[in-house]
């Protein structure tokens, strides 16, 4: 069954089109890789889906509902979680507090309940606490839960991003360059964590310019200059000449 | 339309131009500081006041030529700008609260220092030029014309500076993207200091001129400060063109509103005009688009 459908999505910044006329379908439960060199418009694409910026034209349909141009928190409520490439966390909170403060939606407490510290509110918070600890175990951050987030190594911060995204109990999870700038064993851990997550039945779209990610994708879409150039299984993509040209054209490991 | 009304209108238009040139002069310096260091220099009005006082003291107490006095005051305030950047702004960059507090400290010290040190007499800088000339039915004093000319002249100079010279280009680079500029090997501290110097020098010019046109007193900077903020926000934070446009608007309002309403109401009306404009165009008239 199709969980997310994007038709003719376009975003122009001034003159140039960051994303132009992209169509795609995402099936429930799959891991979809969205790869392309730097500046190909991958992050813009995520921002468009999650309502951070409004598309110039085109439509985003999630589980049959049109979510084009909704507010970020509304889209999050509908169960689309995401991580960020650059500032994935609240720097002045501890790891655990980061995850705790990401539980906004369910269970939810009323304003008055929150203020008067009712039993409901306290139960909710207790429940949230154990949930958070579980999530931290899942992504392997339970050892450092009381450390300040900003003092953590890059890999941990990225994983914290994933944990926070999981906190909203997403059915669709958008990961923005989850392994960018990681060292090899960090990459292995991350990929493990992503696999575990997807086994929980979460649909995952991940953006990378690093071809290594292909091994966990069921399906891959390559975009360049804001346009979809090929779509297919990881194997086909690896050999595809256009892709290779795109990558050699803009050396993808100049970054970092 | 009677002749009196015509004279009134023409005179008001001239007032508008003169006021605008003064406001834009101050607004530019303020915008530089904001663009390059990302700070709101609430002490700008006081710097203007100090500039006026230096010129006044040299010209009337010491008794040297007012033009020379103005030059000295410009240089002095320029140096003051360097100190300001190094010891006041740089330590607190990025924390707007601390910047505000430190600005209050400076304002308190300078203002009270002046009002304590000066005995109560009417103080004003001797005029730079004198006399009146007539254009048709409207007559205008050379003094006001001078203020206008110097204002415009300096504006052109500043524009040439930021558009033509190397430092100017570097300034724009820093204003657009600090990290990028650092990567490009631009010395941001140097550029910031330069911005401070320019801002303070412009304030000193404005202060010296107004000090001879009006009188000097320790509180002359307060209203100007609000005007500058109006211009900054109305024109769009950090946009140079915005400063020009907003400066003109505020000048026109200041010249024409007093004719229809009385005294302090002009201020109130202007404020709410601006608030309403911002309610519909929050990023100002020339501001860049802001994302949530």
């Amino acid at each position: 069954m199709i969980i997310l459908e994007v038709t003719g999505l376009t975003k122009n910044f001034g003159g140039l089109a960051a994303v132009s006329n992209i169509d795609m379908k995402v099936n429930g439960g799959e891991v979809l890789g969205l790869i392309g060199p730097n500046g190909a418009g991958k992050t813009t694409f995520f921002n468009l889906i999650t309502g951070v910026i409004r598309p110039t034209k085109g439509q985003v349909v999630y589980k049959g509902k049109d979510i084009t141009g909704k507010k970020p928190h509304e889209i999050a409520e509908m169960g689309i979680g995401r991580t960020f490439q650059l500032n994935p966390l609240f720097p002045n909170f501890t790891i655990l507090q980061n995850v705790l403060s990401s539980f906004q939606l369910r269970p939810r407490s009323t304003l008055l309940g929150t203020f008067f510290n009712t039993r409901v509110y306290r139960n909710n918070e207790a429940y949230i606490l154990e949930q958070s600890l579980e999530i931290l175990k899942l992504v392997g951050l339970d050892k450092v839960k009381d450390e300040m987030a900003q003092n953590q190594p890059h890999g941990y911060q990225k994983m914290l991003g994933v944990a926070r995204a999981l906190a909203i109990k997403p059915e669709l999870l958008l990961l923005d360059e989850p392994i960018a700038g990681m060292n090899p064993d960090e990459i292995d851990n991350t990929i493990e964590a992503i696999k575990r997550t997807s086994h929980l039945g979460v649909t995952i779209i991940l953006v990378e310019h690093n071809m290594k990610i292909l091994e966990i994708c069921n399906r891959v879409i390559v975009i360049n200059f804001g346009q979809k150039i090929v779509e297919g299984l990881p194997q086909e993509i690896k050999e595809n000449p256009e892709v290779i040209r795109a990558y050699l054209g803009s050396g993808h490991d100049t970054k970092h | 339309m009677s002749q009196a009304t015509i004279i009134l209108l023409v005179a008001s238009c001239l007032n508008a131009l003169i006021l605008s040139s003064m406001y834009i002069l101050l607004g530019l310096g303020f915008t530089f500081l904001f663009n390059i260091m990302g700070i709101l220099n609430f002490a700008h009005g006081v710097i203007y006041m100090i500039g006026a006082y230096i010129c006044f003291i040299l010209a009337s107490t010491v008794g040297i030529n007012p033009w020379l006095a103005m030059l000295v005051s410009i240089i002095a305030m320029g140096l003051f700008g360097i100190l300001l950047e190094r010891f006041v702004f740089r330590p607190f960059l990025g924390n707007i609260n601390l910047i505000i507090v430190v600005c209050i400290g400076i304002i308190t010290v300078l203002k009270n220092a002046v009002s304590v040190s000066q005995t109560y007499t009417v103080q004003m800088t001797p005029p730079f030029v004198q006399g009146v000339f007539k254009v048709g039915i409207v007559s205008l004093s050379w003094e006001r014309l001078l203020i206008f000319l110097i204002g415009v002249g300096l504006l052109i100079l500043v524009l040439l500076f930021i558009n033509k010279t190397k430092q100017g280009l570097q300034m724009r680079a820093v204003a657009q993207d600090k990290e990028g500029a650092i990567l490009q090997g631009i010395n941001v501290n140097y550029i910031s200091a330069l911005a401070c110097v320019i801002a303070c020098a412009l304030a000193a010019v404005a202060g010296s001129l107004m000090g001879s046109y009006l009188t000097v007193n320790p509180y002359m900077g307060d209203d100007i400060m609000i005007k500058v903020l109006e211009i900054l926000v109305l024109g769009g934070i950090g946009s140079i063109n915005g400063v020009f446009f907003a400066g003109l608007i505020v000048g026109v309002m200041d010249a024409f509103l007093p004719i229809v309403v009385s005294g302090t109401q002009t201020q109130a009306i202007m404020m709410f005009a601006i608030v309403i404009i911002l309610l519909f165009k929050p990023q100002g008239l020339f501001g860049k688009e802001v994302r949530t």
Binding site: V52, P72, H73, A76, G81, F84, N87, P88, L89, F90, N92, F93, Q97, L100, S101, Q104, L105, T114, F115, N117, N124, E125, A126, L129, S132, D146, A167 | F42, P91, F92, N97, L98, I100, V101, V102, I104, G105, T108, V109, K111, N112, A113, S115, V116, L229, E230, V233, I237, S262, G263, T264, Q267, A268, M271, F272, I274, V275, P282, V290, T292
Partner: protein
């Protein structure tokens, strides 16, 4: 309160106890102030301090969401004028006007903040600045009702007694209630969401925190207490004038918060206490007093920028470090 539970390890529990004890001592001290001083004037100063503590604390509450309300002094004024005009010209009971003042301030604050809540926090600061100045100019220019620049005199008071003691205890109670409410909000999820928004509104949005709602909520609550404080000021001080709610008032509130310590709930309280009571000590210097104030400002600013509340922690860490150094050598 899950966010609190997480920090319930032994060390921080001890810290909490210490905080509670300090609060207790402070409250006891404030409770016996009328017995300590025999002059109505000193009591007058303390009453003003109570009022400004509410103002400063409410301002900090807004600031936790990353917005700097540059009209907070004006909102004090709004409250003061609403309560003053209502009770003087319309003869409404002062108790009622306190509430009305708070609600009016809250309403106006919300109205102003709403269009700007979805933008960068900076724009709210700017609009509030102009709104504040504009409001004062309006008060000054429409003299019939507001008395123009001279302000309003002869406002009916809460207690018709010469003694200031009833005022003191009434306002002390009001202050404690306000602080309690603000504290509960801060340690609850709302407070943490505000802090989250302040750190990164992008991330906050992505986990389902409604940035707009929370920012507006923060401003509304802050302005409510500002209005309350203003009303208290009017009903106590009998005379109000625009000049005491101008830009400078706002900036001084920011000073109370920053010097006390932005990072801690106790910050504005300590800041206000110190910066309000100290000037009484050197007010004999007449026109030279501002210099002392400025000196204190710079001293605090350049020695510990996290404000006075950060001092004990710094001292403790300093001695711990020294002990370590000893044990090493």
């Amino acid at each position: 309160m899950g966010l609190m539970i997480t920090v319930r390890d032994t060390a921080s529990r001890r810290k909490n106890y210490i905080q509670i004890i300090i609060c207790g001592i402070l409250i006891c001290f404030l409770a016996i102030v009328p017995l300590l001083t025999n002059s109505p004037y000193n009591l007058h100063i303390f009453i003003l301090t109570l009022i400004y503590i509410i103002a400063a604390a409410s301002m900090r509450f807004i600031m936790t969401s990353g917005q700097i309300p540059l009209a907070h002094g004006a909102f004090l004024g709004l409250g003061a004028y609403v309560s003053g005009i209502l009770s003087k010209h319309f003869g409404i009971s002062s108790w009622l006007t306190l509430l009305v003042a708070a609600l009016v301030a809250m309403g106006v604050g919300t109205f102003i903040s709403f269009p700007f809540a979805r933008l960068k926090a900076f724009y709210y600061s700017m609009i509030s600045l102009f709104f504040g100045v504009g409001m004062l100019q309006t008060i000054e220019s429409f003299g019939k009702l507001t008395g123009g620049i001279t302000g309003i005199t002869g406002i009916p008071t809460l207690f018709h007694t010469a003694s200031k003691v009833p005022f003191y205890y009434c306002f002390l109670a009001l202050m404690l209630i306000s602080l309690f409410i603000l504290y509960r909000l801060e340690v609850s999820r709302i407070g943490w969401n505000l802090k989250a928004i302040e750190q990164s509104y992008l991330v906050a949005g992505s986990v389902g925190i409604s940035v707009v709602q929370h920012r507006v909520l923060a401003v509304a609550i802050g302005c409510f207490f500002a209005g309350l404080a203003g009303g208290m000021y009017a009903t106590y001080n009998v005379t109000i004038s625009p000049s005491s709610f101008d830009m400078a008032a706002t900036l001084w509130l920011i000073i109370y918060v920053t010097i006390g310590g932005m990072g801690n709930f106790a910050g504005p309280i300590i800041g206000t206490l110190v910066l309000f009571l100290l000037p009484q000590y050197y007010s004999g210097l007449k026109q030279y007093t501002p210099f002392i104030s400025a000196a204190i400002l710079f001293a605090v600013l350049y020695t510990f920028r996290d404000g006075l509340v950060s001092v004990p922690g710094l001292v403790v860490s300093f001695y711990k470090k020294r002990k370590k150094g000893r044990s090493k050598s």
